[in-house]
């Protein structure tokens, strides 16, 4: 059975029992790991950082699956854990005063272009540079809408925010990014 065809209820059912817990967790990973990875990667940018954050996040999911009460969709719960882990990581990195991508004060765009796991063009690098300047919440909204192509309805469930507020946030983010490009003559 393809992993995406497995329902969340089946996965949770398997994870409730000690004997089938690992099997259930592997199915959960198969279904959601890529989506969560990209969500984290767009927040932290660097692959190694994204891998660390994703692994921490999934260990927490495995350990605390009993606390999932089913009040929201499983992906919503996973998304929130991943978002919290990403923000915690970014805050710790800010406190340390350096990042693996912008240490020595180099612009993110330059560092990205030198990154072995980034092969986007100058405009894509500039887009990530512009995104990095957005507030965390606004960046999340932009990522979900622009890269994951999520509907506002689904975003409202995941981010626990009204659709109107999300639309406004996305529009603001787009305008800021446009401004960033215009200022640098990248149109």
């Amino acid at each position: 059975m393809p992993e995406t065809a497995i329902s969340d209820e089946q996965i949770l059912g398997l994870m409730q029992h000690q004997q089938t817990r690992e099997k259930g967790f592997r199915l959960l990973l198969g279904k959601y790991q890529e989506r969560l990875y990209w969500q984290i990667r767009r927040m932290v940018l660097d692959h190694e950082d994204a891998n660390d954050v994703l692994q921490n996040c999934m260990v927490k999911v495995f350990r605390s699956i009993d606390q999932f009460e089913g009040k929201s969709a499983l992906y919503t719960w996973l998304f929130r854990i991943a978002t919290n882990e990403s923000i915690t990581f970014l805050n710790q990195r800010k406190k340390r005063g350096s990042t693996s991508l912008d240490e020595e004060g180099a612009p993110i765009a330059n560092r990205l272009q030198a990154d072995a796991y980034f092969d986007g063009d100058k405009l894509q690098a500039a887009l990530h540079q512009a995104l990095h300047a957005l507030p965390d919440k606004q960046r999340q909204v932009f990522n979900l809408r622009y890269f994951e192509e999520m509907s506002y309805q689904d975003m409202a469930a995941v981010l626990n925010t009204s659709e109107g507020a999300l639309k406004a946030s996305f529009h603001h983010a787009v305008k800021k990014i446009e401004h960033y490009f215009r200022e640098r003559g990248l149109e």
């Binding site: 690992e22 967790f25 592997r26 990973l29 198969g30 790991q33 890529e34 990875y37 990209w38 990667r41 767009r42 692959h47 891998n51 994703l54 692994q55 999934m58 260990v59 495995f62 350990r63 990205l112 796991y117 980034f118 092969d119 986007g120 063009d121 405009l123 894509q124 690098a125 887009l127 990530h128 809408r145 622009y146 890269f147 192509e149 999520m150 509907s151 689904d154 529009h171 787009v174 305008k175 990014i177 446009e178 490009f181 149109e187």
Partner: protein, 182 residues
């Protein structure tokens, strides 16, 4: 949401939104994002994670002893419970004060009105020499006179009585008569 957007999938909806908002971002969306992952990263991720989970000791969840109490206090600190609790405490304080005030063994009353007759009598008998006779007569509450007990009234009317005269007069007194002075 209008009928047209209801029929569109999120991808089409986003494209239309971007076309209206920012043609540049719409154009950028067509090119690849640029992020890559090492080959077989996702294939190995499952095993890497399972290995990590097995080797990472599970952190025991320790609940500090005070946490349940703190949770209870949180409930009591809600305004309606806090008001009720405060009222109970005030009532208890007032009630406690009243009980202690009237309880046996409580601190004696400092007011002279609280003294019993026995206490007054005992005090006077002990300190009889501290009172002058006129005060004793006045406090007696009856119209006793020195003549009643065989003493000349001139004693307390400006004429002084020598010590010998006083002793003689006292010796002539009947003890029962002397008691009537009090």
């Amino acid at each position: 949401m209008n009928e047209k957007s209801k029929d569109m999938n999120p991808k089409e909806e986003l494209r239309d939104e971007l076309r209206a908002l920012s043609p540049l971002l719409e154009q950028l969306k067509e090119s690849k994002e640029g992020f890559q992952v090492p080959e077989t990263y996702f294939q190995n991720l499952e095993d890497d994670l399972m290995q990590r989970i097995q080797w990472t000791p599970r952190q025991p969840v320790r609940t500090p002893w005070w946490q349940p109490l703190a949770a209870q206090w949180q409930i009591l600190l809600q305004p309606r419970y806090a008001m009720a609790l405060a009222s109970i405490l005030v009532l208890m304080a007032v009630g406690g004060y009243l009980i202690v005030r009237t309880a046996p063994g409580a601190e004696p009353c400092q007011d002279i009105a609280c003294l019993t007759v026995e206490e007054v009598r005992s005090y006077i008998e002990t300190n009889i020499h501290d009172f002058d006779t006129r005060t004793i007569l006045d406090a007696g509450g009856k119209e006793a006179s020195f003549e009643d007990v065989g003493l000349p009234s001139s004693v307390f009317e400006g004429e002084t009585l020598s010590e010998d005269e006083l002793l003689d007069a006292l010796e002539g007194l009947d003890p029962d008569d002397l008691e009537t002075l009090f």
